[in-house]
């Protein structure tokens, strides 16, 4: 099975109902604006009370309406998060706007 590098699932509207239906599991997620531009790549780590559900509910509370999201359940949320950030930087030349405000220490990746 090929290893998927990018998170390329369909976007879902970031609403209270969609967030409530998310699993309480660990993983990573992306938030995009209405045009599909990724503005943030986040992780639901072991300190999130209800994993992805808690994180996306928090995102909705802070951002309000007009955003969309996609998630990936993943126990390796930290390394997958770093990977998504590095791949985004390789693809776009910069981090998503909200990650760039407080960038984590990142390496460089040049995916084939």
């Amino acid at each position: 099975m090929a290893i998927r590098l990018r998170l390329d699932k369909p976007w879902r509207p970031l609403t209270a109902e969609e967030a409530r239906r998310l699993p309480g599991q660990l993983g990573v997620y992306q938030v995009a604006d209405a045009h599909g531009t990724i503005v943030f790549i986040g992780q639901a780590g072991a300190r999130s009370a209800f994993g992805l559900r808690s994180e996306l509910q928090r995102e909705l509370g802070e951002r309000g309406d007009g955003y969309q999201f996609r998630v990936e359940v993943n126990m390796q949320y930290r390394t997958r998060w770093f990977e998504l950030l590095m791949v985004h930087k390789a693809d776009h030349g910069s981090l998503p706007a909200d990650n760039a405000k407080n960038p984590p220490p990142l390496g460089r990746l040049s995916p084939a």
Partner: protein
């Protein structure tokens, strides 16, 4: 051999034990359970503390500014430094500094100026590029990355896998085949700058060690000059092998440290937890698990200190290092497993460090030479080269 710590060693052990308890564990409690880095301000503050303790750069040889602590003492301290959640792979989050890669101390004067000293000052980070997709246990035969002579230098083509830190490194030590007809005598060690055209970090490799990742590298017509050869042409395997042997001793020490921490947690839990009206500690089934833990830890500690003592005295220690690595990684894994069993459901959660140690300890039976290779090394010693 007497492995009881001297009074000086005990003083250092106590100092590091207090440091782990008072500085590392409280900070770690605020981090994600899979974290492998401290916030930069905390890291900088703690580095100043270890410098004040006179223990910064503990693995750096004295002639290069290290604190001149012998390998036996360093093993005793490494056992202490590993006794926290991230301690197996990131003892004390690197606040005791690092020596970089052992091979780079063998560099010529020009290479020392460009790579060794900046590494010791913390300005450059290296990676170690040995393992390839074709195999890691038998690098002398598995290395397929080629280096071909061109324009007063060498052109590298090939791939490496399971390489830690290559995406953040400024340079790496890369092993490539320079003579296809000579087996292990046809490998050369190159220093490759990370900004060299043709050097690529292609992907992240996710493993059980979810706190940190490895990488896969590609060398595509990557030209390096003759000045980048570490040692001599076709003598690179000795450079790799020496490192692999030496590294097994501190590798074993880390396993012992985590095993001790898990064992202490299990003892404390067994004394506190009651089932069916009886403390776990009063049940023979639990007592025997604790006894087996104690035996595994003492065995690994003895063999690891024996290997360190032989290394300290300048005696051959290849077999002893293999025994140390084998007993510590396998025994340490059993100790963590039993500690989880004693903790029951709590042992499986990310609330406790046991699940992280369990995953990371499993890697230790493969990393730095799998158990089977260690047994081969030991068997050769037992049987002798001529099977006497």
């Amino acid at each position: 051999m007497d492995f009881e710590p001297s009074s000086e060693q005990q003083m250092l052990i106590d100092q590091v034990r207090r440091y782990v308890r008072d500085e590392i564990i409280p900070l770690e409690a605020k981090l994600d359970p899979d974290a492998s880095e401290l916030p930069s301000d905390d890291h900088a503050r703690l580095v100043e503390k270890t410098k004040a303790m006179g223990l910064f750069g503990i693995d750096i040889p004295k002639e290069f500014g290290g604190p001149d602590i012998d390998i036996v003492t360093r093993v005793l301290l490494a056992i202490e430094m590993a006794q926290h959640r991230a301690g197996l792979y990131v003892p004390c989050y690197g606040t005791f500094g690092g020596a970089g890669l052992a091979q780079i101390f063998e560099a010529n004067d020009d290479q020392k100026e460009r790579y060794l000293y900046p590494t010791l000052r913390g300005e450059k980070k290296p990676f170690f590029g040995l393992t390839e997709p074709s195999g890691g246990s038998d690098p002398a035969r598995a290395i397929q990355t080629r280096a071909e002579r061109k324009d007063n230098g060498w052109v590298l083509n090939g791939a490496k896998i399971f390489i830690s830190g290559a995406d953040r490194a400024q340079y790496g030590i890369v092993f490539a085949r320079t003579d296809a007809s000579k087996g292990r005598a046809g490998i050369t060690c190159f220093i490759v700058d990370a900004d060299t055209p043709g050097f690529h970090v292609r992907r992240v490799v996710h493993t059980l060690r979810s706190s940190s990742y490895a990488t896969e590298l590609e060398f595509k017509d990557c030209w390096v000059s003759d000045h980048q050869i570490l040692g001599e042409v076709n003598k690179g395997f000795a450079v790799a092998n020496d490192r692999l042997t030496r590294q097994r001793i501190p590798y074993a020490a880390g396993c012992i440290g985590v095993a001790i921490a898990a064992h202490e947690m299990a003892i404390e839990w067994a004394k506190m937890r009651s089932t069916f009206g009886e403390k776990l500690a009063n049940r023979q089934a639990i007592q025997w698990m604790l006894v087996d833990n104690e035996i595994d830890i003492r065995t690994a500690r003895h063999f690891t200190l024996e290997a360190a003592e032989k290394a300290r005295r300048g005696l051959p220690f290849r077999t002893e290092a293999a025994i140390a690595k084998l007993t510590a990684s396998e025994g340490g894994g059993r100790v963590v497993d039993r500690a989880m069993q004693i903790h029951g459901g709590m042992g499986m959660t990310k609330d406790l460090p046991l699940e992280r140690w369990y995953r990371e300890m499993r890697i230790r039976r493969v990393g730095e030479g799998p158990s089977e290779v260690q047994r081969m090394v030991i068997a050769r010693e037992i049987l002798g080269s001529n099977l006497r």
